[in-house]
């Protein structure tokens, strides 16, 4: 008999019963949106619109053309963090070679975290060498200065040596045609 009020809820009470359903629907909607369009970057970069960190890297053994922060001034370029240990880099590599062959934009490489200094060079000999300049970063100092969390990562640097974009993960033809290429063309016009 005490339950009688619950059997005939007032308008406000009825609304309260629907609250969990509403919360569920809102959450389900958010999850559905996130699943359909996952955020592109795992972590946002702190370095967007800031000058590249000062650095001077040794060249890969026998390759010449070392990379320093000074080399990143003067024209729009890409800086690609790679390593011979990095599986996703192998996946990305043929496309970088394609970009190099079209001559669209110079790509500089940072060979990150190699166990032996020769490993990166051997890897380039095996899979092709898309880089203009390339430097060895054995103890991650430059990678950390760039805020790198994994490889491959690619930074778009404008002609003033300012970082304008970071792409985490392999560059695919879609990423290139939809994001990087338009951005590079835009930066050239500025």
């Amino acid at each position: 008999m005490r339950d009688t009020p619950a059997a005939a809820p007032s308008g406000r009470r009825r609304w309260l019963y629907l609250l969990p359903v509403g919360v569920f629907l809102v959450l389900a909607g958010i999850f559905a949106l996130q699943l359909a369009d996952p955020p592109g970057q795992v972590l946002p970069s702190e370095l967007i619109d800031r000058p590249v960190p000062e650095f001077a890297l040794e060249p890969l053994p026998g390759r010449g053309r070392p990379l320093t922060s000074e080399h990143l001034k003067g024209e729009v370029s890409l800086v690609n963090i790679f390593g011979s240990w990095c599986v996703a880099c192998v996946q990305e590599h043929p496309f970088l070679v394609d970009i190099k062959n079209t001559g669209d934009v110079p790509i500089h490489g940072i060979d990150w975290n190699e166990r032996n200094p020769e490993d990166g060079m051997k890897w380039l000999q095996r899979f092709g060498d898309p880089y203009d300049r390339a430097g060895l970063d054995p103890d991650s100092e430059v990678a950390i200065a760039f805020g790198v969390t994994g490889a491959p990562e690619t930074f778009v640097v404008d002609r003033n040596g300012v970082i304008r974009y970071k792409h985490s993960g392999p560059i695919t033809p879609t990423v290139w045609s939809k994001t990087l290429k338009p951005l590079i063309e835009d930066l050239r016009r500025q």
């Binding site: 702190e46 103890d139 991650s140 990678a143």
Partner: protein, 193 residues
């Protein structure tokens, strides 16, 4: 009849359970955090500076594995960060300068304990506010229930109807009881009497 757990015994049981939990968790709370992945070849010769490096390492998140500090993580990048921390300390950086450098490169994310600032207000204040809101909700619910029963006294006609119903029920119950008493012994009543 003796209840399964007498009131006094259940209170004693609760005290024991709390004591047991504290006993198990206490050492975890008091024990120094293990240095985890810090390898001997990374350590500095100066024990004081090494201690500072440990202090910093505990506060920095491994950006690869995300759930661990750099001192706990076996990831190569965490190792290189530990070495970088020691290098910068050796070059004369203060603890805060080392942390600031990495925060500058990786953002607040690299800090194990996020700073208290407008963008993290929800993070820090959300749980206590939810607790307070929940408490208020529960309090209002019980006040509402008390108010409901107190605010609706029966009208005289309802009183009369109730009286009639109760009398009718009593009469029916007496009849049933007589039948039941003839049928079987009333254990349930006897047990509590």
């Amino acid at each position: 009849m003796i209840p399964l757990v007498p009131a006094r015994a259940s209170a004693a049981l609760a005290v024991w359970l709390v004591a047991l939990m504290l006993g198990l968790a206490g050492p975890l709370l008091l024990a120094p955090t293990p240095a985890g992945a810090v390898m001997p070849d990374e350590m500095l010769d100066d024990p004081e500076m090494e201690a500072r490096a440990r202090d910093i390492g505990e506060q920095l998140r491994c950006v690869v594995c995300q759930g661990e500090s750099i001192d706990e993580s076996n990831a190569p990048l965490a190792r290189d960060m530990r070495i970088l921390v020691r290098k910068r300390l050796s070059q004369g950086d203060s603890n805060q300068e080392v942390i600031d450098y990495l925060q500058d490169r990786y953002g607040d994310f690299v800090l194990m304990k996020p700073p208290f600032k407008p963008t993290t207000w929800v993070l820090w204040l959300g749980p206590p506010l939810l607790l307070v809101a929940g408490g208020i909700g529960v309090a209002m619910y019980y006040r509402g229930r008390r108010g409901e029963s107190a605010a609706a006294p029966l009208s005289p006609s309802e009183e009369a109807r109730l009286q009639a119903l109760l009398e009718a029920e009593d009469a029916a119950a007496n009849g049933r009881h007589d039948d039941a008493a003839n049928g079987r012994h009333d254990e349930s009543r006897g047990g509590r009497a």
